[in-house]
């Protein structure tokens, strides 16, 4: 089924498959940086917590790359997965809201660039933060400019690193500006129209889950 998708089918991958491919891609990208040329399904399993049988099934469409005892070719697998996830050769622009500590950490992270994302704008309402350079060449802009900048830069994702109390307002403004993916680092439960996707990321939820396995 993954193979069919790679061959240009317009079918949507099931949610679980897309999530797992993203995880494999992250590990493979890092393995590549560390100079590795092959990786086994067992190693992929250790780093992603997906079981090896599931991994072999997901990647069975790439049979020619997965040699028993040798493992998968890292370069080949990276380009295949990128193609399937449609991130190959594209650049997706992100606008970040909130230039506090979390916002600064996100803006300064290199991890986005590895996967074809780029933080092209950072907004805040705090006059002390406006003009601050969060990354060479990237300065905090006034929130009032968000609509214009989003249009000019072709922003497709809004990332909220703002206090929970203002997250809904920023989400409303993003929706009005035409942004359809919101990545929410605040704790707020956001109300958005059905065509908009909100992803809430929380370190505490992941920790709860990890601890469950420690405690039982």
């Amino acid at each position: 089924m993954i193979e069919r998708a790679a061959q240009g089918s317009r079918e949507r991958l099931p949610l679980g498959v897309a999530a797992r491919l993203s995880r494999y891609l992250q590990v493979l990208t890092q393995a590549k940086k560390m100079g590795r040329s092959t990786i086994s399904s067992q190693e992929l399993a250790e780093y992603t917590h997906v079981n090896p049988t599931q991994i072999r099934r997901d990647l069975s469409g790439f049979g020619k790359f997965g040699k028993r005892g040798v493992g998968y070719n890292v370069d080949a697998l990276v380009s295949q997965i990128r193609k399937i996830l449609r991130t190959a050769g594209r650049r997706h622009n992100i606008a970040l809201f909130g230039a506090g500590r979390l916002g600064q950490a996100i803006a300064g992270s290199e991890i986005f660039a590895d996967h074809g994302f780029r933080v092209v704008a950072v907004f805040d309402v705090d006059p002390d933060k406006i003009g601050m350079e969060v990354r060479p060449g990237l300065r905090v802009q006034p929130y009032a400019e968000m609509r214009r900048v989003i249009e000019e830069e072709g922003v497709v994702v809004g990332v909220l690193a703002v206090p929970s109390s203002v997250a809904q307002q920023v989400a409303d403004d993003l929706v009005a500006a035409g942004v359809r993916i919101i990545f929410n680092y605040s704790e707020a439960l956001l109300q958005v129209p059905p065509e908009v996707t909100v992803h809430t990321s929380s370190p505490a939820v992941d920790l709860l889950y990890a601890l469950y396995f420690y405690l039982t």
Copy 2:
């Protein structure tokens, strides 16, 4: 099966169930803060991206709380899930490594306290950061003190917010100090003994996954 777990079975929950319960708990906790007393499976689905049928199945053991048309009682569900995840009435101590921007954001976050976690120590090697107050009453300590502090404070989780280049060294030291859960915010692929669990969290992976749905 979830009901059986709640009744004190020593069986481990399947990975997927534990992950979903953690997500429900995060949404329910926030709903409670916002003054909500009930929540429907449809709403839980919107906030967690788990489908409503799956949610009703997961929570079927709590039948008495889930009234058709009214939804689940938020308070009752929070305490049931906490009991199942064994986080009820316990406090789990976390040590944080790296007092850079991400480390500061994590240390200052209130989200951990909501779920029974507490950042009890922050370490760094940078003399300029040592002594800095990252939260009222919590100051950055020298890395050399890590072993003693971990033992004294009963730390069960180590969180790495350090550069990738030093992550393996910190992981080795954590393992030597007896810590069995490592939460890795760096990009490094860590090598640890089988009894140690590493969870790598990456905003980029979640974004890739979100974008996949936008792009297809």
